[in-house]
Amino acid sequence: MDMDLKTLTYIAVFGSFAMYFAIAWWARAGSTSEFYAAGGGVGPVANGIAIGADWMSAASFISMAGLISFLGYGGSVFLMGWTGGYVLLAMLLAPYLRKHGKFTVPEFIGDRYYSKSARIVAVACLIIASLTYIIGQMKGVGVAFSRFLEVDYGLGLGIGMAVVWVYAVVGGMKGITYTQIAQYVVLIFAYTVPAVFISLHLTGNPIPQLGLGSTMADGSGVYLLDKLDMVVTDLGFKEYTTAKLGSSVNMFAYTLSLMIGTAGLPHVIMRFFTVPSVKAARASAGYALVFIALLYTVAPAVGAMARLNLMNTIEPTPGQNLVYDERPQWFKDWEVTGLLKFEDKNGDGKIQYTSNADTNEMVKVDRDIMVLANPAIANLPNWVIALVAAGGLAAALSTAAGLLLAISSSISHDLMKGVLTPNISEKNELLSSRIIMTLAILVSGYLGLNPPGFAAGTVALAFGLAASSIFPALMMGIFSKKISGHAAVAGMCSGIGITMLYVFQHKGIMFIPGTAFLGNMQPNWFMGISPNAFGVVGAIVNFSVAFIVSKITGPAPENIQQLVENFRIPAGSGSAHNH
C-alpha cells in the first residue's frame, strides 16, 4: 500500500513537532542560569550537536546546495566560509569567553571594556544582526509549510511562530539545547538519505562525497564532474568546476568575510557558555564542526547531482528536448508555486534550457527549489520527500530558537539587568526575558510577512555586521591587554558604519529599491568586492580605528589588564554565573 505524499508529510512534520514539545517540557528552564546557559551542564558532544543545529539554518538546508548547483566552483565561498569560521572561533574566542563565565556576548564586552556604552553598542549590533537573520528563518518556515502542507504562506508562518514560541519560551536555553539535538538528527537524516539514494543511482557509490568524484554508473566510464562540465558548457553555461564568483579578489574577500562573520555571530558564541569547562569549550568546537561538516561535505554532491539530473530531465540526449506536455509531476507542482516557469518562445512545444536569454525557455528556475525538489526529480519514494519537509522545518526552527534566545537575553540581561533596572529580581528577569522573546517572535513574524526588500540581502548583512563589529571587539579584548574602552566603542561604530554604508549605497537604504545611490553594479564596487563580501573591509577599519584611538587615549587600567591575564588561563573556572 502506498500512502499519498500529503499524509506522509503530515505524519513526518507533526510527529517531529510532538517530539520537540515533549523534550522542551521535560527540559524546561527553572532559573535564569538554566534559561540563558542551560545551567552550564551541557557536555561537549551534546553542545557540538546543538551548535550544529543552531548553525544550520533554512539557508544551509534549503538554499546552499541550490546556490552551489548554479554557481559551481564559485559556491565554494559558502562551504569554506561557513566552516572555516569555526577554526577562528575555537582558537581565538570560545575558550576565553567561557573562562570569563558570563551569560552573554555584550556582557563580556561590557566587562572587558569597563564601559556601559560598549555594552549597549554591542547589544545594538547583536539585535540588528540576529533580527535580520531571523527574518530569513521565518520566511523559510512559511515557504516550507505552504509547499508541503498546501496551506497559505501567512498561515504557514503563523504555525511556525506558534511552535517556536511554545518550546523556546518554556524551555529557554536548556529546553532549546535538547530540542536542537533532536532537530539535528532529523535534519541530517533528511539531508543525507536523498543524497545517498541519488549518488547510488548516478554513480553506484552510496557515499555522496565519493560519488561526486566517481564515474557515471551508465557504463560510459566518464567522471560525473566531467560529464556535468560537458553538459553545461554545451548549452553555453560556464564550466561547472572552474566558474568563479566575480573576481578572485571578490571570492577571497567573500570567504574571509563569511569566516569572520561566522565567528562573530552571537547566537553561536553564546552556546559556548553552556559547557562546564574551558576544556569542554575547546572540544565542543571540534564536535560542532564535525556535525556541520557532515552536511557541508554532502552539499556539493547534492548541488552537482541535482544540476545534472535537472539537465538530463530537460534534455535526455543532446538535441532531444523534453516535450512540455510530457513534463513530470514535480515540474507541474513547482510551476504552481511560481518558482519554476516555462515560456515556449519558439513555439515547438519542447523545453529549451540555455544560457542565452533570447532562446532560453526556462525563464525561472528558483535556486531554493533544488534541495526540496531533488528527491522528486530523482524519482525517490514519497516518504523521502516527506522527510525532507520535516528536515527543512527542523533547520529553520532550531536556528530561529537560538536567535530568539540571543535577542531576549541581550535585552533582559544586558539592557534591563545590566543598565536600566539593576535591582530586578531573578524571577522577574526570567519573566521579562520570556515576554521579550514573545515580542521578538511577533516582530520577526511580522517582518517575515512583510520582508523589507529581499531576505537574502538582509542575511548577508547579518554576517557583515557581525564580522565588522563583534568579532574584532572580542578578539582585541582577548589578545591585547591594553586596548581601551573608548577604542573598542570607536572601532565597533566605525566598522559597522562603513559596512552599512557600503551595503546601502549599492543595495538601497534599508534595501528599499531606488534608494541605492551608486547602483548595484560591478564597476562601482570597491576593488571589485561585492556588498556581501565587504564585512572583511569593515573589520579592518574596526581594528585600525581601535588601534589608533587606543594609542591616543592610553591603555586600559591595571585591573582590566589583570582580568585579561585571568581569562587567558583555564585554571579557576566555575560554571557561568550571575554576578
Partner: protein
C-alpha cells in the same frame, strides 16, 4: 607566576599561528589562489583545486580544531594551569 603565565601565553600564540597558517594554505591557498595550478592534478574525478575548495579544506578544518584542543590540554598540564 607572571613569567610562567607569559610563556604559557606565548606558546599558545605560537600554536595558534601554526594552525592558522595551515588553515590559510588549505582554504585560501589551495582552494582559491593556486586553484588553477592544482586543477591540472586529478584526484579521481575531482580536479584537485576544486576538491580542496569543496571538500578537502573542510576535513583539514576539523582536524585542526581537534589538534588544537589536544595540544592545549597538554600545554595546560605542562604549566599546571588546567581546571581542577
Amino acid at each position: 607566576m607572571t613569567t610562567k603565565s607569559t610563556s604559557y601565553w606565548q606558546e599558545n600564540i605560537r600554536l595558534i599561528i601554526k594552525c592558522l597558517i595551515i588553515w590559510f594554505i588549505v582554504s585560501f591557498g589551495c582552494g582559491l589562489l593556486f586553484v588553477e595550478q592544482l586543477n591540472t592534478i586529478r584526484l579521481g574525478g575531482y580536479k584537485l583545486g576544486f576538491w580542496f575548495a569543496q571538500q578537502g579544506s573542510i576535513y583539514v578544518f576539523v582536524a585542526l580544531v581537534f589538534y588544537y584542543s589536544h595540544a592545549m590540554n597538554k600545554l595546560d598540564a605542562k604549566y599546571g594551569v588546567e581546571e581542577e
